[in-house]
Symmetry: C2
Subunit: 221 residues, 2 copies
């Protein structure tokens, strides 16, 4: 997520709009993820930047729009990751398992993103609604699921009545919960869902769950 890392602009431009904006977004992402929207402090973001609060208002307009920009960039990152998906050369069962595992990995590697999404849900997704960019961002992963599902259903490997969006929700819910709710779950049940020693276990569990669901004969009652 960090886009800026030069120590003290060695020989570079002193005034660089793109770099300043990227740095603000980096720090703002951390701060919003750390403390939530209302808990985040604009002054704190400015202080941890090589620029001043003035610049936040100059480039983004305000706290609200800054948070929207943070969300836009965070969603852009997963969108790019999803575009790199390369699983359709596998057979449907292996492809779905691989897709689930990549989703699992991505969630684990981007806890800040998970927190931002949780925060945005607390606020009723009003920033996504206010963003033109996020309105029609789409999901490459969804298209991949759609195609794998179609192949698997044609060949009779998968049960026919499964929808791509639903399957995406199923996979996401497990991956998301594991990261987002690890604190309360750990405090109440004494088990750390993101314990590295348990990582492979939960990754396999997710794949098993999804494949079992897709290949089970449904009892129509």
């Amino acid at each position: 997520m960090t886009s800026v890392e030069e120590p003290v602009r060695p020989g570079g431009r002193m005034r660089d709009a793109a770099r300043t904006q990227a740095e603000i977004l980096d720090v703002a992402t951390q701060e919003f993820a750390r403390a939530g929207y209302d808990g985040a402090r604009v002054d704190e973001i400015a202080a941890r930047t090589r620029t001043t609060k003035r610049m936040i208002y100059y480039y983004f307009g305000g706290k609200e729009q800054l948070f929207t920009a943070v969300l836009e960039r965070a969603y852009g990152v997963i969108r790019e990751a999803e575009q790199q998906l390369d699983v359709e050369h596998l057979d449907p069962v292996a492809a779905i398992r691989r897709l689930a595992e990549l989703t699992f990995d991505h969630h684990e590697q981007h806890p800040d993103f998970i927190r931002l999404v949780s925060i945005e849900n607390i606020h009723g997704a009003e920033h996504i609604a206010a963003s033109e960019k996020l309105g029609r961002i789409g999901s490459p992963a969804l298209e991949v699921i759609r195609r794998i599902l179609a192949t698997g259903q044609e060949s009779g490997l998968f049960t026919a009545d499964v929808d791509a969006v639903d399957l995406h929700a199923m996979i996401s819910s497990f991956c998301f919960f594991r990261v987002a709710n690890r604190h309360t779950f750990g405090a109440l049940f004494g088990r750390d869902l993101v314990d590295p020693a348990q990582r492979a276990h939960y990754r396999t569990m997710l794949g098993d769950m999804v494949i079992a669901y897709l290949t089970a004969e449904r009892t129509t009652d």
Copy 2:
């Protein structure tokens, strides 16, 4: 969740510590769920109560402790609901499905609780950690799962290597995600996960998923 509903204390005591505390907790639950911990306003809570801000500090000590008290009561409610669980007269498959459905129903009926848990996770479960009551609250549902799982595994209906806490996490993740992330999911994928018309569909989907996972033959590789 609402414990107080008398219109304007008809003939009752004017000074009633228990009623005042319960009313503060009711309103605080709504306010914290609405706006998050930092977004919630103590003045707003007081204003929507028949008492004053002074009383909040008199009874609870401060905003932080008030939130902890809200969490304690909210977790107490699900604990009570879980103690009413009566599924062990069913065969293991039906019992697990029924348990999953009841979890599904409970999450749907208590969106405020879901929001409080999300908020508490944003803050690293620090209030649960600070609460003696919540430290060892336990989970009746977990015990039920444990027993059903044992029966199902003994009879060979279920695969042997499933843990009760893991299964609880699996069920919870689906139920929780559906309610907690409905706003962002709806905004991004154009599908309302809590649409009443889709309720039965997702309820069945959850049961199918869990049962498929428990009864699938595992490919040990």
